[in-house]
């Protein structure tokens, strides 16, 4: 994938809402995971290269110790069995969870993560919120800071659970089961929010190219603000918690509105011009309510942690 060939031509994409393939046939996947962070760190690229290496790389480390031809035969047979089993699992798993589509959302690098985190906390100076496309497929997140990813939400969720455990520990309420309870309740709220957004998108008949995983990514961005608020509350007390939560709530409200505006509203309304009509008004209400639900959830999921 050549980043210099990406053209911001998203206006035509609305004609074919759901026909884009995020990762066609795997020939893009090798290019997606190259290390572009430039800092020498390539944990994601190393990991994916190990994934693609194939069964020969799954080492039997003690090979030099066994020179008996019989055990060599057994080892070769065992490794071929393992590779067959792995192929079968991959083939069947791909039917239920679209692994190839998920890979797109994890094609991030350090620079992208840093910029995105800064955008989530301070979205006021960013001007161009369009997602750039390259020949009808959206560009991988590492090349475009506006593209949604699943890395930050996943890491944010795990960090939130750990920070919640820490916060409950300072209140002398910690027990290991509580970690599981926190994780499952936060996950349940996330799933309910994504289902509610999907239902309202269906009812308003918005022709958008937002997929379910996109919505999951956008709903997961609020964990960053929640973590900042709780950590500030733990370090500096309740006023700091309220102040930082207020700041992060405003930031994520603006972030969601500016991101969703381009995806949900019609072109004229997205430019900022006032467009009358019941349908546009309904879409505007939908955008506003999705964005307003984020601060509510942020407060709901953290107020019991900072007492």
């Amino acid at each position: 994938m050549d980043p210099t060939a990406a053209q911001p031509s998203f206006r035509q994409r609305k004609l074919q809402p759901n026909m884009r393939l995020r990762n066609s046939a795997g020939d893009g996947s090798d290019g997606m995971f190259e290390d572009t962070s430039g800092a020498g760190l390539g944990p994601q690229s190393g990991y994916s290269r190990n994934q693609h290496a194939g069964p020969q790389a799954e080492g039997f480390p003690g090979q030099t110790l066994l020179s008996d031809p019989m055990s060599n035969l057994a080892m070769a047979y065992g490794s071929s069995l393992a590779s067959q089993g792995r192929e079968m699992v991959d083939k069947n798993l791909d039917r239920f969870i679209p692994i190839s589509k998920l890979k797109y959302y994890f094609a991030v690098d350090t620079v992208y993560v840093g910029k995105k985190l800064g955008l989530l906390v301070f979205p006021y100076m960013h001007e161009n919120w369009e997602v750039s496309y390259q020949q009808d497929t959206p560009v991988a997140p590492r090349f475009d800071v506006n593209a949604p990813d699943l890395y930050i939400p996943a890491m944010g969720f795990i960090t939130y659970v750990l920070v919640a455990g820490l916060a409950l520990g300072t209140q002398n309420k910690f027990s290991p089961e509580l970690l599981g309870v926190q994780a499952s309740s936060a996950f349940v709220w996330l799933v309910m929010e994504v289902l509610a957004v999907l239902l309202s998108l269906y009812l308003v008949t918005v022709n958008t190219d937002l997929t379910t995983i996109d919505l999951l990514a956008f709903s997961g961005y609020k964990y960053v603000g929640m973590i900042v608020g709780v950590v500030a509350g733990l370090l500096f007390g309740k006023p700091a918690y309220y102040l930082s939560l207020l700041w992060c709530c405003a930031a994520i409200f603006v972030f969601m509105i500016r991101t969703l505006r381009l995806k949900l509203l019609s072109e004229a309304a997205a430019e900022g011009r006032l467009v009358r009509g019941a349908r546009n008004q309904l879409r505007m209400y939908l955008t506003m309510s999705i964005a307003a639900a984020q601060p509510i959830f942020m407060y709901w999921l953290t107020y019991h942690l900072v007492r």
């Binding site: 349940v188 009812l203 008949t205």
Partner: protein, 82 residues
């Protein structure tokens, strides 16, 4: 606030049951949500009410039979594990 995944599944099953139980001629036609009342033109504006009627009708058509199985599983689990 102690939600588990199972309570989410139970809530979802209850909601789907509620939608599946709505009777076509005794109730939905009486309040104007019947199948024959949702035919619009070929315009591009189905509207919220028409979408909801479509949703109710499709849930009732699709989920009638699987709900029997899911409800039985939930009843057995509830009896065994409380």
């Amino acid at each position: 606030m102690a939600f588990t995944l199972y309570s989410l599944i139970q809530a979802a099953v209850l909601c789907v049951n509620a939608v599946a139980v709505l009777h076509e001629e005794r109730f939905l036609s009486k309040i104007g949500w019947g199948v024959d009342q949702s035919v619009g033109g070929f315009g591009d504006e189905p509207g919220v009410k028409a979408q909801m009627m479509n949703l109710v009708r499709s849930v009732r058509t699709v989920m009638r039979v699987p709900l029997i199985a899911v409800n039985s599983v939930c009843i057995v689990l509830l009896l065994l594990f409380g």
